[in-house]
Symmetry: C2
Amino acid sequence: MPVNLSAPTSTSLLPIAGIEIGIASAGIKTVGKQDLVLIKIAEASATAAVYTKNAFCAAPVTLAKQHQQQTSAQYLLINSGNANAGTGERGMQAAQACCQAVAEATNSEANTVLPFSTGVIGQQLPVDKMVQAIPQAAQNLSSDNWFDAAHAIMTTDTIAKAISKQIELDGKTVTVTGMAKGSGMIRPDMATMLSYIATDAAIDQSVLDMMLQQAVEQSFNRITVDGDTSTNDACVLMATGHAGNQLIIDINDASAQQLYTLIAQISQQLAHAIVRDGEGATKFIAIEVEQGLDSEECRKVAYTIAHSPLVKTALFASDPNWGRILAAVGRSGISEFDLSKVAIYLDDVCIVKNGEPAITYTEEQGQQVMDQEEITIRVELGRGQAQDTVWTCDFSYDYVKINAEYRT
Amino acid sequence: MPVNLSAPTSTSLLPIAGIEIGIASAGIKTVGKQDLVLIKIAEASATAAVYTKNAFCAAPVTLAKQHQQQTSAQYLLINSGNANAGTGERGMQAAQACCQAVAEATNSEANTVLPFSTGVIGQQLPVDKMVQAIPQAAQNLSSDNWFDAAHAIMTTDTIAKAISKQIELDGKTVTVTGMAKGSGMIRPDMATMLSYIATDAAIDQSVLDMMLQQAVEQSFNRITVDGDTSTNDACVLMATGHAGNQLIIDINDASAQQLYTLIAQISQQLAHAIVRDGEGATKFIAIEVEQGLDSEECRKVAYTIAHSPLVKTALFASDPNWGRILAAVGRSGISEFDLSKVAIYLDDVCIVKNGEPAITYTEEQGQQVMDQEEITIRVELGRGQAQDTVWTCDFSYDYVKINAEYRT
């Protein structure tokens, strides 16, 4: 059960002029499941993408990067059920064959197709099934398929993740719609598992690139479920320009900032949705680290807490065993760390002040916060002005169950 | 159930001339349980100790370090059930009061006592109970109490961990006996939870310090259960000189090397015992990383694999889902990493060669290795001559259960 997260409805997701989506069932893992998505991007659109930093990145990630350097993207091809990662040269040939199949079905060039895969690592992609299903997806391209697409890209996700928002720019209505998938192997180092966000606004390529980088830094690059950076992370932002607004060429313009705020909100909501639907999650945790020398050391402390199995199991048990938080802060590797300036809070309840247990703290106060489904752990380092926030979930029996039984 | 680990017997643990041990029940967590150990070290002995690098180290750790700088240790006082960590100034006063109680019961000085605590973090030490039990421990000091002591220091351990070995030096029989405790919050960064090793050999202080540092580097500092470095780690090595061998003053002497080998073996066996009895462990895993530029990058790769919840749950499920190992290697942060030189093995089964899935690999081969209780994951980086090894266990339902219910 995801933590305080409702599924999108088909009417809540607004189409984006210039974006068409086709869906098919290739039967990669489960016969009959819709598992293949083809996104058509109108000509003259701008497309930005960021990818995993995992050195063992998947074949489709390598190929998508190559294609993006050669020409502008016209199609995104996404499959769930198989990550085509750790598959070597044969995996690369499989990804190429899929792009070629899209090119033939749509009368375009193979290098205008960006491929994305998600699912089991280390098994060869069933190319024949993909190639057979691709023409079907090309035939049902429609601007209304966001809802089905958000479902088709799911793997261990228990709920679809997608959202739409609108604003006025230059008297024109501009729409942004985004979707994401992800639940386990989540510690994005560039972008999360898979996320696709599109707008009909007109945005210059360099501004679009900047917007995506910034939005990802404050959303997908600040979440973790289990600390495991995926081989297949990718996040794509598309801008078709069909809304008719004036082309955005400076990120500091008022209209650019308005639109960026919208994109950043959608990125953050999608990133949070991944944590809320994290494998086995029963709680949604924000870890805010403040008063650091720089944001890097704030993140170091935040991720040490977020990855501690002891903190995560205490959160699952609603046990205010704050000694585990203190131990995690202490081992996070901050240099010349003056503990006498450290304070730690559970929501507004102070548990450590000046490096000492707070005299005002009672176990009842701690218990009250820990019983909640949403908890903020706040750490003040007392060293400077920097701050950063990381979002994570707890660690339950179901995490072990899901991951022990994943391939069975 | 610990993995391939038998409990010591009372006759298997050999006394060390010059070391006496007293035991008592302070009833810190459970009424009637023996939870207090007093070790008396004969005069003119040498004692070396290493402690946790966790910045939030416990009050007894801070006090033990201070006392060690002031004079040579005559007593070690150890309690289980309460870590006296995260307890601030009051915790420091509690540790001092306990040392004072030992001084009074034994007619010695408080600063000759090194205090050690292990158990729940963040709760005040019940000083009265300790002070009441200390004279009792002082009264039953005996050289035969290693077996009871190994049990008294346990917390979530399911089995006692202790071992004895002997060699001949200068025609004299020299004995080494060691004990350790630890099961969770295990990722020692200097030494493990608690370990005490004693010998009746005569060893110069500076050589003893070196021996301990080296032995710890290849044992306690190479294990991890959950990545959580404890606030209370400590490892102590005592040498009484009662065996009558010639004083060892050069670590490179043949006799020094013989003795060091013994101490290193005991350290490694005790460290392995902690992993074999790791919380919820069902498997014992060695992670060997070879052909690195330096041993630091080998450890980086090894610990990334060892801490991956996805790898650990796959090991628990005996699932040869090696894609998770590959993903962990890929995210370990090695700079300028040439994947085409990487090979990965499960025991002798090659799963990745030249960065590609090995063509010889079959799922049956992988399954056969994963079904074992002891597994070696070996990674060749193809960059240099360095190598390092880390030992860990898997991640089971019971880990979550033990840590969700720890304080209830």
